[in-house]
């Protein structure tokens, strides 16, 4: 190797060494700069994640309240309350649509009868089939409680805080309430849910009150979850312990997590309207077909009932609306 070559090589090595050293120096600059920046932030920081269900399609759950007394099997009695609960996870919205128990409808393989008889004829599966046929909506799940299990469920979560919308005084259901926010234990929540004699619109108004209980439960569940996320377990366990459902525990957990993201203030609580009449000796409700069709079509799309399709409250006269 000539001297010239050797010098060139030395210069090259020196350049490389200087570049490496310079790079190292350069690399220290951001660190020095960051260190000179305001020191660690002190504001309270919060991070959370809940595994909500896929928001690509609405979820439909048929919620059935059996009128079974404590010594009766809940699936072989009549359905005292029937509600379609639709959930749109993507929009954090939910809708409750009550179906009056006296609605005179086609029950598959049983001809026309009051919808509450579907539970007696064929259990919750037949109620689902009947509602699917009536609305054209496909139910993803059903969930059911009876009187005793509903009471126990409410007591398990230390009662429900409900804004009772108007005074009630009904001996039959033992619903005696002043209007206003109050915590109802299981016994009182059941009385609130059962009262119809005291309401001008009877079962229509009762169905709305039952929806109100569900909205109140959602609001309370969310509030408790926000204060202590572990409360989710107590609510889930209460539901699984006292309810009957097609939902697996995994699915209940998924729905519960999804419920924490639903805006309770925006839940539409509607009741299918209809006219009261007689078929033979039966007092029945003939559903308003146009409203039924409009609501069913609206829900099928995204599970969210548009304001324009929410029928007037059956308790309107009591609400001063």
């Amino acid at each position: 190797m000539s001297i010239l070559h050797a010098r060139r090589a030395a210069l090259l090595v020196a350049f490389l060494a200087a570049w490496v050293a310079g790079s190292a120096l350069g690399a220290t600059e951001p660190a020095s700069h960051a260190a000179a920046a305001p020191l660690f932030q002190l504001e309270r920081a919060h991070a959370e994640f809940v595994p909500t269900l896929d928001g690509s399609k609405p979820i439909f759950v048929l919620v059935i309240g059996s009128d079974a007394r404590p010594d009766q099997a809940i699936e072989s009695q009549r359905a005292d309350s029937i509600h379609i609960v639709s959930i749109n996870p993507a929009e954090h919205r939910a809708t409750i649509v009550g179906i009056p128990r006296d609605s005179f409808v086609d029950i598959p393989d049983h001809g026309q009868d009051k919808i509450d008889a579907a539970l007696f004829f064929g259990g919750p599966e037949l109620v689902v089939e009947t509602v699917e046929q009536l609305t054209g909506l496909k139910m993803d799940y059903w969930a059911m409680t009876g009187f005793a299990s509903f009471e126990a469920m409410v007591d398990d979560v230390d009662g429900l805080v409900v804004d009772v919308p108007f005074a009630m005084s009904d001996e039959a259901s033992r619903a005696f309430f002043e209007p206003g926010v109050q915590r109802l234990d299981g016994d009182n929540a059941l009385a609130f849910a059962r009262n119809r004699h005291d309401l001008p619109s009877g079962d229509f108004g009762r169905s709305e009150d039952q929806g109100l209980l569900m909205v109140s439960a959602l609001a309370q569940f969310k509030k408790e979850f926000n204060q202590d996320p572990a409360r989710l377990l107590a609510w889930v366990a209460s539901f699984v312990r006292h309810g009957t459902t097609t939902l697996s525990l995994d699915e209940v957990l998924d729905l519960a997590f999804t419920g924490t993201t639903i805006n309770a203030n925006k839940v539409a609580n509607a009741v299918l309207p209809g006219g009261v009449g007689m078929v033979g000796t039966l007092s029945v409700v003939t559903l308003n077909q146009d409203t039924l069709d409009a609501i069913s079509k609206d829900l099928a799309d995204d599970g969210v009932l548009k304001k324009a399709n929410v029928p007037p409250s059956p308790n309107e006269s009591l609400l001063g609306g």
């Binding site: 050797a6 030395a10 960051a34 260190a35 660690f40 002190l42 991070a47 595994p51 377990l233």
Partner: protein, 226 residues
């Protein structure tokens, strides 16, 4: 002895490698000196301060959340204790990797922390790096971090057949971090982690709040307890 031509040639050959060696060594030396002086806040890798302080949570107990009306509470309580024992090392590691291991916080590299989260949760966890760990730029700010008294409690949800479904761990983690300017910060992380068994105990949901505050230097007699 006068060197012959061949020997002179060999001598020349020896002088060239010396130049090649000396110049870069001097330059690298200067570079390293500037690196250490100019970037004085950057620690020397492999120093004594790279040791991760030992840390273990204190477990305050495990409670049962049963879904079967006729659940055998005593059996479930025993299982819940076992679950707590199984999960605790995972939570110990989560906080050790997130707050105490200098090789993580000096570089803002918390890969081991995020490996504990379920696939659905990991993106949110990574976005929450400032809340779930000492922070991405902690190495620029802090000199040392020492663990404090930290505790865990468990609630274990059982399915109707008595199998473990989900566990919720309530965490209170405390540490004291010394800043490079000599001031101290009390690190407080409180929250809940929902865990399920998915290839080991995995975090499926979380709700964590950081409530750090200024603090005084620890007294010499104080010692962190695990």
């Amino acid at each position: 002895m006068t060197p012959n031509r061949v020997q002179r040639g060999e001598s020349k050959k020896r002088r060239v490698p010396l130049a090649l060696l000396i110049v870069p060594i001097v330059l690298v030396g200067i570079g390293v000196a500037i690196f250490l002086i100019g970037g004085g806040d950057v620690p020397i890798v492999g120093g004594d301060d790279e040791v991760t302080p030992p840390f273990d949570f204190i477990v305050k107990g495990a409670s049962v959340v049963a879904t079967a009306p006729d659940a055998d509470e005593a059996t479930l309580a025993s299982t819940a204790d076992d679950v707590a024992q199984e999960i605790t090392p995972t939570i110990d590691d989560l906080f050790t990797n997130g707050y105490l291991d200098p090789s993580n916080w000096r570089d803002g590299d918390y890969e081991e922390v995020f490996a504990t989260f379920a696939p659905d949760a990991v993106a949110t966890a990574e976005e929450s790096v400032e809340t779930l760990t000492l922070g991405a730029t902690a190495g620029d700010v802090f000199a040392t971090v020492a663990p404090g008294k930290s505790k865990l409690s468990y609630q274990v949800l059982f399915d109707p057949d008595g199998a473990v479904e989900t566990a919720v761990v309530t965490v209170v983690f405390r540490a004291t971090a010394e800043r490079k300017d000599g001031t101290y910060l009390a690190i407080v992380s409180e929250g809940e982690f929902f865990l399920r068994q998915i290839d080991g105990w995995t975090i499926t949901a979380f709700d964590v709040t950081r409530a750090d505050h200024e603090t005084q230097p620890p007294s010499p007699s104080a010692s962190p307890s695990g």
